[in-house]
């Protein structure tokens, strides 16, 4: 991993995923949201009645709940000006040759097929509302591992799906979870049987192409006892002058002794509202790890959560946020200890530059009777200039005395002494700054697989150079 912090020599600082394809879809809903549109989505997908009713109920929750008053500024979202469902193709490819040429070209430019050949156990590619390509290695399939989109999960594994769907994040959990529950499409359904360890990552890639698009993927991961899986998601979108909305729901069940690692590299263009609910439940001696990297978007509100349900459960969140020009990253974590002898750790690193704002918002809750809980929260913020901003909102609710809690928060700037030291060794001011920033995020980047670590450092460098959204 020694080379992960190397300052790579790359081109100019522009958001390089901002291109878009001409729209040529088989179905595009009208703008806006109504019972008719929700019913139509359900009908087009050929869903059972319970799912249609679930969606309609969720729509009611969505409509009846006010916008959150906390976090970021959501007043710019015009819910009537968004396309809630866009089907790009009729079928789903099992090979890239089956994917329409223009979409394949897009994913080629994003490097997905190349990555798949090199180091992935399975790949899912979602374009607008539907997963248009999907593959999983044969040996995993034969061990009973399921990796498909959630629509396929519902269709082909109806009992398993229904048993867990919406149980970790109920549709009335919050306004955006309700919205997702009403119009969800695509995402991933992952099932890992007991004792099966998926040694190399599964990756899902999410691409928004159309203007004023809403993407609402839904992900459900079930790790049976003693299993392991690492799921990685990446996302990009074209740069438009009007805003898009991405609102996902991710539910994860980590059973006894299992371990799930969920890595996100979020790199939406700067016109995307990214409002995501992610939550997991970890049972006896299980481990849940969220590695959450947020670079792009206009506003991100995302607080991956672990509910520690039984003794021995362990939760960890490692998060990086980069807030550049016109961006607000309101990110953090939630750890809810519902059992004694559970432990959790949150490490958050944020960088603000060009007037961007990064906020850490976290909740640590220990319920009464949960003795011997250990938790450590650490948030470090790096401010790159005077006009940028960082805030910390750590909420701590402890109802039990016999616990061990640590909390530490720092705000720092790149110091003159560090810069001078590096420059005295021949590094230019930019190179020296990049090296210090890479060092700052290294504790998290080193947890990423090599290929992602290199990509992450490259993306941070592009942001540091001032990519304009």
């Amino acid at each position: 991993m020694a080379d992960a912090t190397e300052v790579l020599d790359v081109g100019l600082g522009e958001y390089k995923y901002g291109f878009h394809d001409p729209e040529q879809y088989v179905f595009k809903s009208r703008k806006g949201l109504s019972r008719e549109i929700v019913t139509e989505i359900s009908y087009l997908k050929g869903e059972p009645a319970w799912m249609r009713d679930f969606r309609l109920k969720a729509l009611e929750y969505f409509e009846s709940r006010p916008l959150p008053k906390w976090g970021g500024d959501l007043s710019g979202i015009n819910f009537d000006d968004i396309y809630y469902y866009l089907r790009p193709t009729e079928g789903q490819g099992r090979t890239w040759e089956e994917v329409p040429e223009y979409i394949k070209t897009t994913f080629d430019r994003l490097g997905i097929p190349q990555a798949e050949r090199k180091f992935l156990a399975g790949v899912s590619a979602q374009y607008e509302s539907e997963v248009i390509y999907h593959s999983i290695r044969k040996d995993l399939e034969s061990k009973g591992v399921i990796f498909c989109d959630c629509d396929t999960g519902l269709r082909e594994h109806p009992d398993l799906f229904r048993q867990y769907f919406g149980t970790i994040i109920p549709p009335n959990d919050n306004k955006f979870a309700a919205l997702n529950s009403a119009v969800w499409s695509g995402g991933s359904f992952v099932y890992v049987p007991a004792g099966v360890k998926v040694e190399i990552p599964l990756q899902a890639y999410f691409r928004i192409n159309a203007q004023n698009m809403g993407q609402f993927e839904r992900t459900l991961i079930i790790a049976e006892p003693g299993s392991y899986v690492h799921y990685v998601e990446g996302c990009t979108a074209p740069t438009y002058s009007s805003d898009s909305l991405h609102s996902a729901v991710v539910e994860i069940i980590v059973k006894e002794g299992a371990r799930v690692r969920y890595t996100t590299i979020q790199n939406w263009s700067n016109n995307v509202y990214n409002l995501v609910t992610k939550r997991s439940q970890a049972f006896r001696d299980a481990t849940m790890e969220w590695i959450d990297c947020n670079l792009g978007s206009k506003l991100t509100m995302k607080y991956p959560a672990v509910y520690l349900m039984e003794p021995g459960a362990r939760g960890e969140v490692l998060s990086i946020a980069f807030a550049g020009r016109g961006q607000h990253q309101d990110a953090g974590a939630k750890m809810v200890h519902c059992a004694p002898n559970t432990s959790s750790a949150i490490t958050s690193k944020s960088i603000s530059k060009f007037g961007g704002r990064a906020s850490y918002r976290g909740l640590l809750k220990v319920h009464k009777g949960c003795e011997n809980v250990k938790s450590n929260v650490r948030c470090d913020a790096l401010l790159m200039d005077e006009e940028s901003r960082t805030d910390t909102y750590p909420y701590i609710e402890i109802e039990e005395d016999r616990v061990s809690i640590g909390h530490e928060a720092t705000v720092s700037k790149v110091s003159e002494e560090q810069l001078f030291y590096l420059r005295s060794r021949g590094l230019s001011e930019n190179e020296a700054t990049m090296m210090i920033v890479n060092g700052f995020i290294e504790p998290i980047v080193k947890e990423l697989p090599m290929e992602y670590a290199v990509e992450m450092n490259r993306l941070i460098q592009l942001e540091m150079e001032g990519s304009v959204g």
Partner: protein, 255 residues
């Protein structure tokens, strides 16, 4: 004809936050020679070191510093480094999260202007590390982060060995070193001595000069060089301390 990498400091005046620290320093370090600059606390030794490397806090109000015939005072620190100026810091700064290996590779690339294949690079660094009795674990450690005093100083000399400067300023390299570390570091420096390297050793104590024998010795008092000589001057200082020379410098008529 080979250019000579001579360092020539002429009438150098330097202020920090409006206060004049150096009040007209004149000093020449020809290539291939080792000069020691000694002086009591507060005489301006470290100010000279930082000024030569270009720290933004130090304001040159008068004079010039020529290196290979070029006035380097207008150059940025990295430009000076690329021309062959090196400063071994008294207090090397920690860069958390950046491995020594990455840092050295980037630095070497910047100084040489070309990248070096990773295997060749590792071999080169290992060679130099062996010289300084540093084990391979240093590769992966973060730059100066949690290093002991001795480790920091050895890492400084390692960089000097790797970057092959033509003028090296060593700022209180002996401070904080026990006798074994001092010997190791000194042996490292001695191995680098040669016709293409000028060295300016800045020190309060004569201790390091028992190991690295200087060709010339200069005494800095209150921002000026008040006396120059050879090894015998070090011995006089050793025997009599700084007081007599301070008195002599500040009260020239009183002798």
């Amino acid at each position: 004809m080979a250019e000579t990498a001579e360092l020539v400091i002429q009438d150098l005046h330097v202020s920090v936050e409006g206060r004049e620290i150096l009040k007209g320093v004149n000093l020449t370090v020809p290539t291939g020679e080792v000069h020691a600059l000694m002086g009591p606390n507060g005489s301006g030794k470290s100010t000279l070191a930082y000024t030569l490397m270009g720290h933004p806090k130090y304001e040159v109000t008068q004079g010039q510093v020529l290196f290979k015939g070029e006035d380097i005072l207008e150059l940025e620190p990295d430009e000076r480094a690329r021309r062959g100026v090196f400063l071994a810091f008294q207090y090397p700064t920690a860069i958390p999260g950046v491995s020594l290996a990455n840092f050295l590779r980037m630095s070497l690339k910047s100084i040489r202007g070309t990248d070096m294949p990773i295997l060749e690079f590792r071999k080169l660094v290992k060679e130099k590390m062996a010289l300084l009795k540093m084990d391979d674990s240093f590769f992966g450690r973060y730059v100066n982060d949690g290093f002991s005093g001795g480790e920091k100083k050895r890492a400084e000399i390692l960089q000097m060995a790797l970057l092959q400067p033509q003028i090296a300023i060593m700022d209180e390299t002996d401070s904080g070193l026990d006798i074994d570390a001092l010997r190791t570091v000194s042996e490292g420096v001695n191995a680098l001595r040669g016709p293409n390297l000028g060295i300016l050793i800045i020190t309060h104590y004569q201790r390091i000069l028992n190991y690295i024998k200087p060709d010339f010795v200069h005494i800095l008092v209150d921002g000026r060089i008040v006396r120059s000589g050879q090894q015998d001057l070090v011995e006089t200082l050793e025997a009599r301390g700084y007081d007599w020379i301070i008195n002599e410098a500040l009260n020239p008529q009183g002798v």
